[in-house]
Amino acid sequence: MILHILTKAPDSSAATQMQQAVGDQDAVLLIEAAVTAALDVSWDAWQQYPSRIFLLSEDLISRGLANIAEDNELPTLEMEGFVALTEQYEKTVTWY
């Protein structure tokens, strides 16, 4: 059970590589530039990992994407929730 942390936009090579590594039990957290995924509801990761993919709230807000994430009904987490995920998942891998 791995938590994958993506820090780059969904069209980056980091995102492509991450998608090749995510297992059936793994979760995905989108932070920094990765929160631009909120704009793209057709990004296949949204379908591939339902209920185990999250956006970091404060990074959405600072980039002006919080309302868009809400309109698209995407799951967000506060920094506390980020910590909680790392408690739950034994390993984390950051893609950058």
């Binding site: 704009l39 793209d40 509801v41 807000i61 600072s62 980039r63 002006g64 994407l65 919080a66 309302n67």
Partner: protein, 121 residues
């Protein structure tokens, strides 16, 4: 629309991703302060600098919008955004600040030809 002696500054990097956005805008502001006409072209992730709802995320995340607002004070009123880039980012035009101007993608090469000086950030 564009004058030959104007400087074209291209902004391609998003807020908070690197310092390229800030340093690109700084170059535009300094050129304008020196009296040079400046036109800004936003491409790719750079368009995110124009999202009007950028808020205060975490303490210490310095906002970009105040710098964007300063552009007008320096007579930088051409904030050009290619329509195709907006579409491929799936951003709606009304999410952008008011003084952004949409241009057709086919106008991009012409824009580059018409400017004697270009800085690409």
């Amino acid at each position: 629309m564009v004058t030959p002696e104007a400087l074209l500054v291209i902004i391609r990097h998003a807020p908070h991703s690197s310092n390229l956005l800030r340093e690109g805008l700084d170059a535009a502001l300094v050129a304008a302060a020196f009296g040079q006409p400046v036109h800004l072209l936003f491409m790719g992730q750079g368009i995110m600098a124009l999202l009007k709802e950028q808020g205060s995320g975490a303490p210490g995340q310095k906002a970009t919008l105040p710098t964007i607002d300063m552009l007008e004070m320096y007579d930088i009123d051409q904030l050009l955004v290619p329509e195709g880039a907006l579409q491929s980012m799936q951003i709606s035009a009304d999410s952008l600040i008011e003084n952004a101007t949409l241009i057709a993608d086919q106008q991009i090469p012409g824009l580059f030809q018409q400017h004697a000086t270009i800085l690409n950030f």
